[in-house]
Amino acid sequence: MNKIINDFSITVGTVNGSGSSTANNTIMRTIFKMGIPVSGKNLFPSNIQGLPTWYTIRANKDGFIAHHEHRDIVIAMNPASFARDLASVIPGGAFFYADDIKQPITRTDIAIYPMPIKTIVRSDPNIPTNFRDLVGNMVYVGVLAQMINLDMDKILSALTFHFKGKQKPIDMNFTALKAGAEWAKANLEKKDPFYVEPMNKTDGMIMTDGNTAAALGTIFGGVQFVGWYPITPATSVAEELNEYLPQLRTREDGKNTYAVVQVEDELAALGMTIGAGWAGLRAMTSTSGPGLSLMTEFAGLAYYAEVPVVIWDVQRIGPSTGLPTRTSQGDLTFAYFIGHGDSQSIILLPGDVYECFEFGWKSFDIAERIQTPVFVLSDLDMGMNQWISKPFQYPDTPLDRGKVLFEKDIEELKGNWGRYLDKDGDGIGYRTFPGNKHPLSSYFTRGTGHDEYAKYSEEASVYMENMDRLKKKQETAKQYVPTPVLHTMKGATAGIIAYGSTEAAVFEAQHQLNTEHGIKTDFLRIRALPFTKEVDAFLAKHDQIFIVEMNRDGQMNQILKTEYAQFASKFKSVAFGDGLPASAKWVREGILTKYESKKVVVKKAAPAKKSAVKKAVAQKTSAKKTLKKAVTGKMVKKANRK
């Protein structure tokens, strides 16, 4: 049997609340420590205990670590999902299961490995009875480690990382893990092709999640006030702020330069954040879709009264409560036009954990410069799953506090200033903070109509001029927001536009389209709204443009169509929203379905594959393998979704 090295996925099916996350993170971190590009996706239910949950790990020597539908190695720990897990393994794959699950094994085309987990755990007198289930998860890590060659030293350091160096839990878990490995060595015969081998592709890289990155980014951006309300998948943003702020921003005398308030609801969360932002603090809230709905009225106030705040939206899927633990890019149009009346937002779209950190600090600079709410749209996959990344880069520009007048400034102006006077022609006025002791420093802020001096006004012309100025600010913002990232391929005439966490899937799909179908594409990853001139140029240059996103309606496509009506005929929406992280497969198939070419006529996805198979034969073996996997992947996916 030919070995398949550093190119496979592992799926662990467990019961939610059974403590498997330590075990799964240990596997992932060990692969990371072995220098192999890896990703981990926690596909968990909205439940604390009892429902089925899966953790998928993908190791790929070429760095393609987007979510992958098909399952090479499956570890089944949950009787409730056993049959489904067994059916999901690709032919030639491997199936490990806890042997106390007494269910029929119906497959003969895969390697089957029963694991006597309970027996092993019970036989170890060092494991307290109440820890048996938790530690039992480590036994499957041990069995897997033995069978695919996970490095024991790296496992130990992964455990040390996880338990923050606490010796007792490290020892207990490592003992169980070793027991599993030893049992496997003595009792199991290797019948599958999957192995890991050390590489050096993760040297100097970090591994973390987007919510932690966001929290750290905002701390290095000088965040001073956080008002938040618990909501999956955004909760850990605030919790990581609670973790890191005392370390980084509490002085030696125990005094704080910040305040984090868990509030009564999302209305109050944004309300307090606006109060703080108005009064001169770097203020933020973190939330997800349903919370954003509740914040809508306040978002309109912040837009109209011109209060800088950062709203970090970790998107989840669905209208209403939807699927609270599944990912999406479904808040884009909502956030962009949030509020009644005419309004438009600044939106930042980080593509990975590195940018979650970067946009964390930048978002305050932009909010205070433009004096408006800035929405940062992350998503559950980026926010809650572990990603490998370049180390975070220290901010390369000083804090930009925007246009602020203090006592001496007011004195110099002899009090002759207007909060909403467009003195500089960029639409942005000068503001003052409460606590300014100059008698002429104050102004009255309101969500009602107001003139340049913040006085109440219902005059038609005053209202219109003010709204035009707000529009002008949106133009000004273009020079401050992050520009798109362009990846070009020689000879490409087709373009792909995507944003957020889909980047890895798009990269892989681009590679597949090129090597398997001869389709060359340029890729523009948009990182902010309003659109900057780089978007104009990209749209003008390409003859067909695929707009890839994780939602049903193609929301970026909708916005692009509105703002670039002249190019609308070139746009092809590749939108897909099922709550799972983006995969190369749906990007590729979505593009193939709509791709127009004189050379390669593709009517449907299925015939495209046939022609692709012929083509692939003539090409490299690796491409052939990828294609084969993709085809079987589709079958598996169908089976999964019955």
Binding site: A279, P391, L399
Partner: protein, 352 residues
């Protein structure tokens, strides 16, 4: 400004802060003539003037409604934020974190606080935000031309609305059960008491709720209505007469109170309120008593006024957060952005 502050009375036009009453005024009111709210605005001006509070040290807040318009009618020199309906508490809470030395004055109404804003009202109580929270209570939605509010009494009849079917919300009772640290009720038609209670509230460290019955001259002023002038004058039951004395006279609070005894309550800023107890042993530090007198008043249709409850031992919100002495909104990049080494350390920890 001269080196020594002018003495009170040295000139009739200037207070200890060297400011004239004009320095406390606002824009002309656009509320109805005779509206109780205007009288309250005037008492706010008077109270701050007499307490020598510099307007720059006060921030005004409001929600939406007639009452919420009034912050533009006093303290032009103070910052102000007229926010959203029922959401004044959250705006104030966030803003007061920016400079913990500032005092908030919030003006809300019964619609704003007892209906749409009930949630925020109750949470701002338990957080003990350092502000005076005035509810100009008239039992009616004035700005939308006369609908029942949640404080309207059962059986009240209004044009276009018919009869009110529900029992009213008692704002002071809501404040008490939400652990407010200062609760008082007054009547806009009793300006002296309003002003004295305002001064007491301003001196309190933490949230000070002032439920001021402020009749709506246009939409709810039938003589038999609970929030009307005529009813208020007939049914007002002052708990005690109070007057405010400037901080110079130090008076110590006794624990027990006898019938008819004069009770002096030391406020947080060192100033003192003298309470003349008109009820048998009323003790504003006793929560049971506060609840009892409110319940009794409800049952007897009394408008019980005065300082109903006071707890001056609790820290205010920003004190609970152990903030640095410099107001947060005066901190600089050096205070706010951690150094390079700390990021290196974090990166290293994530490589493990």
């Amino acid at each position: 400004m001269t080196e020594t502050l002018p003495m009170a009375g040295a000139t009739a036009n200037v207070n200890f802060a060297g400011l004239s009453k004009n320095d406390y005024r606002g824009a002309p009111s656009t509320l109805c003539q005779g509206c109780g709210h205007n009288s309250i605005s005037n008492q706010i001006i008077g109270a701050l003037y007499e307490m020598n509070i510099v307007p720059e040290n006060v921030v005004k807040f409001s929600g939406i409604g007639c009452s919420s318009k009034s912050p533009t009618y006093f303290l032009n020199r103070s910052f102000g934020f007229n926010s959203l309906h029922g959401r004044m508490p959250s705006i104030a809470t966030g803003a007061l974190f920016a400079d913990h030395t500032l005092k908030g004055i919030g003006v809300s109404g019964d619609g704003d606080s007892a209906s749409i804003g009930m949630g925020q009202f109750k949470h701002v109580m338990r957080r003990n935000v350092n502000m005076v929270y005035i509810i100009e209570n008239n039992g009616v939605y004035g700005l939308t031309k006369g609908q029942f509010s949640a404080t309207a009494e059962r059986g009240l009849e209004l044009k276009k609305q018919g009869k009110n079917l529900y029992l009213p919300v008692d704002i002071c009772m809501e404040a008490l059960v939400s652990n407010a640290t200062f609760i008082a009720r007054s009547f806009a038609g009793n300006p002296k008491q309003v002003k004295e209670l305002l001064k007491t509230a301003l001196a309190h460290n933490g949230i000070a709720v002032l439920d001021i019955i402020s009749p709506c001259v246009t939409f709810n002023n039938q003589d038999n209505a609970y929030h009307s002038y005529a009813w208020g004058k007939d049914h007002e039951q002052p708990l005690h007469e109070i007057s405010y004395i400037a901080p110079r006279n130090e008076i110590i609070l006794e624990k027990e109170m006898e019938e008819g005894e004069i009770r002096e309550v030391a406020m947080h800023d060192g100033s003192v309120v003298i309470l003349k107890n008109l009820e048998k042993g009323y003790d504003p530090s006793n929560r049971f008593e506060a609840l009892r007198v409110m319940e009794e008043a409800q049952q007897n249709d009394w408008l019980i006024t005065g300082l109903l409850y006071l707890d001056d031992t609790k820290p205010n919100l920003t004190e609970m957060y152990d903030l640095v002495d410099t107001p947060l909104n005066r901190l600089t990049e050096a205070d706010l952005r951690p150094g390079r080494a700390s990021l290196d350390k974090i990166n290293a920890s994530m490589m493990l």
